[in-house]
């Protein structure tokens, strides 16, 4: 385990090599292989490290690696005394980060493999660039989850934001893509503003930035149930950071736009890993949050509202990726709901299962889009079941999982969340349940619109004309490296967001199953979506809820006293002072009650599925009638509650207008003052010049004039004749002699 620092560094090396050399010189195969190999290596190392972690006793599953100083110690005032501000390059492997690295490297590896086929039509340079970014992303994500203190985590935190920016704007020639990237980055930065302020307050309060030390110190502090104390402020600011990264209200606006990126990117970054960083961060600081119950409440409410809002928007979207994007936002809301009610393990559990099925769904949708040559509008699909069976089956598994149909993964994790929120707050549970209903509905809407019914898309040439094929081939030969240009053609012809390369535009033979490199990851993820849930079978179902017990040490403070207390008690029954607090607040339900809730949530899911079937399969005219009847509501949902418009009209326009206004101010007032003083100087210079010329110089000239006029006579003496001068000399001598004679 001393080599866990190699886990992030392997993808970094891949990114570096691909970025420096690949873009120029590597073929597609080489750069794809390189990227996949580094990810495979990282996955292998992660598995090894994880197995070693499992081999340790349950309460000692922590391993730290310090690479050296990042910021050496410097004296700095803290709340209590003068402490030392110092940040080491330190990585920490504990159960929480162990789960996360497996998710990141596992899903990441599959998506890398998938991308080798998906991005095949990119030019080699773009291909290498894509894999370089993707690898870089994995590096930063791994740094994020392995970082042992806030600042190292922040490296990953910002780094994944950068990669997200780069990958969303991967097809940078499209304005919408680069706009979306910029929007994502800046929105994230607003969240980061909160994050760093929280981080500063953490240092100011605790004198350290190390997660473990902070948790231990916070664990010793009283729970701030009465009001907003310092811990609450820390948690609130950190949560602002989390809302930015995990697309929660009010900073959720960037995630749907982020679908401008290639689909594997959406799967990896905007579904499985990066967007869950906020959840991870909250879970990482579980002890802090447990000591700030009011903030926990806020987290839960924000999460629930986000889940509900995104789900309602998802109901009416027609873009397949947008539906999934809102679904992601909604599921992230679930995770925050879980953390907000104190069920950190459930949140992480859902994070993990979600990573599997949402990545699966995205990749499946990518496969569909691939098959439809870039088409993303579900209205123009339908009946694809028979063309692409593997994609259909795997996506169906994913959909069932997200809808919460047992025994798939989503059922266990979602049910755990609902159960925990029921314990905490019935109203939140209600929102969660409604969201579950909506989720099942819109997901099956997606499946039904896409795979069932009749094909509604563009027609295709059933038999490719040989001439067209030859022309395409010739085109390919003529512009072997000109992927971008061909893509442009394609984009024009389809107007879709996820544009694919030219091959399809010229020789599209209709929807078809995707190549092996794409279907195999789909199948692998489908397996994950099925079995991942078994890690957390609740005790009510005679399960062990393995993952909760495994993760528990990461959510407790580890002061020596607490650890001893924890070791003595039965596993999970009594946590450290921090975790205990959350437990104490909750009232346990009987096993029967828990089972009842479970049945209820299954029923809800089934109800959603059936409703979707009625609306989009048996009575396809219903949605339009409803939309017509509730036109206002439909427009509101379709336009995403006009949040984008609101932000654009206030914050963005306001800032830009403020900038313009200040620039005018700068030019007119401040620079005006400078130029004005320059002008004043020049005016006074002119004035004194005039004074000088006419008065002072006038006097001088007067003297000169007098002298000149007076000397006009005297100058006659200056005849220029040497002898005249001699004569004058003699006159002088004569005068002296005469004087001598007279005076003596």
């Amino acid at each position: 385990m001393r080599f866990i620092w190699l886990i992030p560094l392997l993808p970094a090396a891949g990114a570096l090599v691909n970025g420096l050399f690949g873009i120029r010189w590597f073929s597609r195969t080489v750069s794809g292989l390189l990227a996949c190999a580094t990810m495979a290596g990282a996955l292998g190392l992660s598995l090894w490290a994880f197995s070693e972690l499992l081999g340790l006793p349950a309460d000692a599953r922590v391993h730290d690696v310090v690479l050296g100083h990042w910021i050496p110690p410097m004296a700095l005032q803290t709340a209590h005394d003068i402490g030392m501000f110092q940040v080491p390059w330190q990585f920490r492997l504990d159960p929480l980060s162990g789960v996360m690295i497996l998710v990141v490297t596992g899903v990441g590896f599959l998506i890398h493999v998938y991308s080798t086929a998906y991005m095949k039509d990119e030019a080699p340079g773009g291909y290498a660039r894509f894999f370089s970014y993707l690898n870089l992303f994995c590096f930063f994500m791994l740094v994020l989850v392995l970082g042992a203190n806030f600042l190292v985590m922040f490296v990953g935190w910002e780094g994944v934001g950068l990669c997200s920016y780069l990958l969303i704007g991967f097809w940078y020639e499209k304005k919408s893509a680069s706009d979306a990237g910029k929007k994502a980055f800046i929105t994230n930065r607003i969240g980061d503003w909160g994050f760093i302020l929280g981080m500063f307050l953490v240092f100011f309060t605790f004198g350290t930035l190390d997660f473990r030390a902070v948790a231990d110190a916070a664990g010793a502090m009283p729970i701030e149930s009465a009001g907003f104390g310092v811990l609450s402020i820390i948690c609130l600011t950190l949560f602002i950071g989390a809302t930015g990264k995990s697309a929660q209200i009010p900073l959720h606006v960037w995630l749907p736009d982020a679908m401008e990126g290639p689909t594997p990117v959406s799967a990896l970054i905007h579904a499985a890993t990066m967007v869950t960083a906020g959840v991870y961060m909250v879970a990482r600081n579980a002890v802090l949050f447990q000591h700030a119950p009011h903030v926990m409440q806020i987290v839960a409410i924000v999460g629930a509202l986000t889940a509900l809002m995104a789900a309602t928007i998802g109901l009416v979207q027609n873009d397949i990726k947008r539906v999934l994007a809102y679904s992601t936002v909604s599921q992230l809301g679930y995770m925050f709901l879980a953390t907000g009610v104190g069920a950190f393990a459930a949140g992480i559990f859902h994070l993990m299962t979600h990573a599997f099925f949402k990545a699966l769904l995205f990749l499946g949708s990518g496969s569909v889009i691939h098959a439809m040559a870039g088409e993303q509008d579900m209205q123009k699909m339908g009946g694809l079941r028979k063309y692409m069976p593997v994609t259909f089956v795997t996506m169906m598994i994913g959909t069932l999982a997200i809808a919460g149909i047992p025994p798939l993964a989503g059922f266990f994790s979602k049910d755990e969340i609902l159960y925990q929120s029921f314990l905490n707050n019935r109203f939140l549970w209600l929102i969660g349940a409604v969201t579950a209903l909506l989720t099942a509905f819109y997901m099956f809407r997606l499946i039904l619109l896409t795979f069932y019914g009749t094909y509604r898309g563009a027609p295709w040439a059933r038999v490719a004309a040989p001439a067209a094929a030859m022309e395409a081939a010739a085109h390919g030969v003529r512009h072997p490296l000109d992927g971008q240009a061909q893509k442009d053609d394609h984009e024009v012809s389809h107007g879709a967001a996820d544009v694919r390369a030219a091959g399809h535009a010229h020789a599209w033979h209709g929807p078809h199953e995707s190549p092996r490199a794409m279907t195999v990851p789909l199948m692998a993820l489908a397996v994950g979506a099925i079995v991942a849930g078994f890690l957390g079978i609740p005790q009510a179902l005679k399960g062990a809820n393995t993952i909760e017990h495994f993760l528990a040490p990461s959510f407790e403070s580890h002061t020596a006293a607490a650890r001893e207390a924890g070791a003595g008690a039965a596993a999970g029954a009594e946590h450290g002072p921090g975790a205990a607090a959350a437990e104490e607040g909750a009232h346990h339900l009987s096993t029967a009650g828990e089972l009842g809730l479970m049945v209820l949530s299954v029923l809800i899911a089934v109800a959603g599925v059936l409703a979707a079937r009625r609306f989009y399969f048996t009575h396809p005219e219903l949605p339009d009638r409803l939309a017509a009847r509730w036109r206002g509501a439909h427009a509101l949902l379709f336009n995403k509650y006009y949040v984008d418009e609101l932000y654009d009209a206030t914050a963005i326009k306001g800032t830009v207008a403020g900038g313009r206004g200040l620039w005018t101010f700068d030019r007119v007032v401040i620079d005006g003052a400078v130029d004005g003083s320059g002008w004043l100087t020049r005016v006074s210079a002119w004035g004194s010049h005039m004074f000088d010329k006419h008065v002072v110089d006038g006097l001088v000239n007067l003297v000169g004039w007098i002298a000149e006029e007076g000397s006009f006579f005297v100058r006659r003496l200056q005849t220029g004749l040497v002898q005249n001068y001699a004569l004058l000399m003699v006159v002088g001598v004569f005068a002296f002699l005469t004087l001598y004679l007279v005076a003596r």
């Binding site: 100058r715 200056q718 005849t719 220029g720 004749l721 040497v722 002898q723 001699a726 004569l727 003699v730």
Partner: protein
């Protein structure tokens, strides 16, 4: 007849000097003006020699020798200038050496 005293020599020298002055002031030929200057220098030398004899001190003669040296230098330079001037102006008239005027 009174014996010859230094005063005789001084009167002689004064007269010679005044001759030189008259020459300088009345002649227009630069060469002659120069020669008048030589006369004046000789007058001075007579003066020096007379005082040397009266005071029994040879320093006066030493000075006279220096005067001779300076006169030689002056003659050399002055005549050089005359030549240069003549080459430019084709004349030796001092009245035409008047470009120094105001």
């Amino acid at each position: 007849m009174t014996p010859i005293t230094p005063y005789h020599y001084l009167v002689l020298s004064a007269a010679l000097f005044m001759l030189g002055v008259i020459g300088v002031m009345t002649r227009r030929n630069i060469i002659i003006i120069f020669m008048s200057i030589e006369l004046m220098l000789n007058a001075v030398n007579i003066n020096l020699a007379a005082f040397s004899q009266q005071l029994h001190n040879a320093v006066g003669q030493v000075f006279a020798i220096f005067v001779v040296a300076v006169a030689a230098a002056e003659a050399a330079i002055g005549l050089g200038i005359i030549l240069a001037f003549y080459r430019n102006k084709e004349t030796l008239n001092i009245d035409e050496m008047n470009i120094l005027r105001w």
